[in-house]
């Protein structure tokens, strides 16, 4: 079996991986469908659980399809795809942060200059610039444009929000395609596995944390922010995430122990980032991003689906780069 796998070319290996993942997704969708058909609506908690499961499966479909498309169409297209994701995520973020007329030019700068430049830097593999462009240069440029608009009211607050939105949505998401362009010696053509590794361990950790919190409810650590977050379920999520990461080390350029460590780093960043975004949502008085946080269709916003990744990707990327000296 393993010799069969080893004899496949890198792109065949990645292709096989996608076949397995989509197979699992089909199985999960069928399970959710059967559960919803057998549900008679006499138990509200059960109905709610099925709804949550269905939405989780649907999210996974979206995420996996995006990754498959990006892998199938090459690194440049993949980067452009993530640029679009960043655009829509930032749109949601800005919609729910009140801005004033004086912020208009800064917003134009953020959407139509900062975002394209950041992703252009990623495509051109200017990683040193990718790292500092937003935290250093944009950090100055945005408030300058705002100051020129001659509106001092809540100046710091408005600029902090905008800088934050750019950091989370543009900087964070741009580090996912950046993983595709890292040059590991002897790992050519297999960088898609690195993205898969990151997404899979983070999502697994979050899922386990969610299920553990449901199964063994405990008084939440920060009830004003999250009704479900507790250190014990968080640790369970980490443990499983790290373990899965170790199992997947064969796919990555890491040795097993390195893979566990990298998976733990990604899980910590992702789950805590998710908690931070929850606090932001509570502050705005909404349950999810998307249009006004009150979605008629029951679908939540794009940012709800990628927020863990926004925090995990830069931390993971820079840990890998630093540790392996790339």
């Amino acid at each position: 079996m393993s010799s069969f796998l080893r004899n496949l070319s890198p792109s065949q290996q990645v292709g096989l991986l996608f076949i397995i993942v989509f197979g699992l997704l089909i199985a999960a969708s069928i399970t959710a469908l059967v559960m919803s058909l057998r549900d008679h609506g006499d138990n509200d908690i059960r109905t709610q659980d099925i709804k949550e499961l269905t939405s989780l499966v649907n999210t996974s479909w979206v995420v996996c399809t995006v990754f498959w498309l990006s892998w199938a169409s090459g690194e440049t297209v993949a980067t452009l795809l993530f640029a679009i994701v960043a655009f829509f995520a930032l749109r949601e973020f800005i919609t729910l942060s009140p801005t004033r007329h004086g912020d208009h030019r800064s917003l134009v700068l953020a959407f139509f200059v900062v975002l394209p430049v950041q992703f252009w830097l990623v495509i051109n593999e200017r990683f040193d610039m990718v790292t500092v462009f937003i935290p250093v240069y944009v950090f100055l440029a945005i408030p300058v444009v705002s100051a020129l608009a001659n509106d001092p009211q809540r100046f710091l607050e408005r600029n902090a929000k905008l800088q934050w939105g750019i950091m989370v949505c543009v900087y964070g998401i741009s580090h996912v395609p950046a993983l595709l362009l890292l040059d590991f010696p002897g790992y050519v053509g297999k960088n898609a596995f690195l993205v898969f590794f990151l997404v899979f361990v983070v999502q697994t950790g979050m899922l386990v944390q969610h299920l553990a919190a449901r199964k063994w409810p405990r008084p939440p650590t920060a009830p004003q922010v999250s009704q479900t977050f507790h250190w014990s379920s968080w640790l369970m999520g980490l443990a499983v995430g790290g373990f899965v990461g170790g199992l997947m080390s064969g796919l990555t350029p890491f040795k097993p122990a390195q893979a566990v460590a990298m998976a733990l780093i990604a899980c910590v960043a992702g789950s805590l980032g998710h908690l931070v975004m929850k606090a932001l949502k509570r502050d705005r008085g909404i349950t999810n991003w998307g249009s006004q946080g009150k979605s008629v269709t029951g679908a939540s916003g794009l940012l709800d689906r990628v927020d863990a990744l926004c925090f995990a990707a830069p931390v993971f990327f820079h840990s890998v780069r630093w540790y392996f000296g790339l």
């Binding site: 800005i94 919609t95 007329h101 208009h104 249009s291």
Partner: protein, 205 residues
Amino acid sequence: MNLPAKLMSLFLLGLIRALTGAQARWQGCPPKAEQRIYFANHQSHADLVLMWAALPQELRSITRPIAAKDYWTKTPFKQWITTAVFNAIYVDRTKTNDQDPLEPLIDALESGDSIILFPEGTRGNQEEPQAFKSGLYNLAQRFPQVVLVPAWINNVQRVMPKGEVVPVPILCSVTFGAPLALEAGEDRGSFLTRARQAVIALRDS
């Protein structure tokens, strides 16, 4: 619609959806091909464009927005886009004695079209819409069979504030409420207040 107009309308729809989402929330009534007057709050010239984009394709072709003549005929391009793409009805905002400003609207309603109306008359910049002008009342009285649908347009003024040229992407939505009818013997003032309240109520729903 000729080809350039069709292409323009496709391009505009794509652009508006990418920038604002142009989400329609049919809260009080379903989208239905009956003769209607949609009336909404007015904060930006883009209101007209957003309402147009939020309606489903089948309704868009039978619904005509009202456009202020002085603004939308200023350049040949604006004039072309309002006539060929939006199929708008021009209303003259400068008062002239010899002509009833509602006449083009009455013509459109008599020929069976639905219309989009901004009863405030001009753009407001306050949180709440200004008092409604009596046009809505007069039309409701004259066309009792036409369904009056209140709508709340959210966020458009943030996309392109007064004096700016480049729009920024911010999610916008149009909420459609439950239809309203002019009651027997209801006077102008109380009907207009009721209509305005119906629009405001949609803001927080």
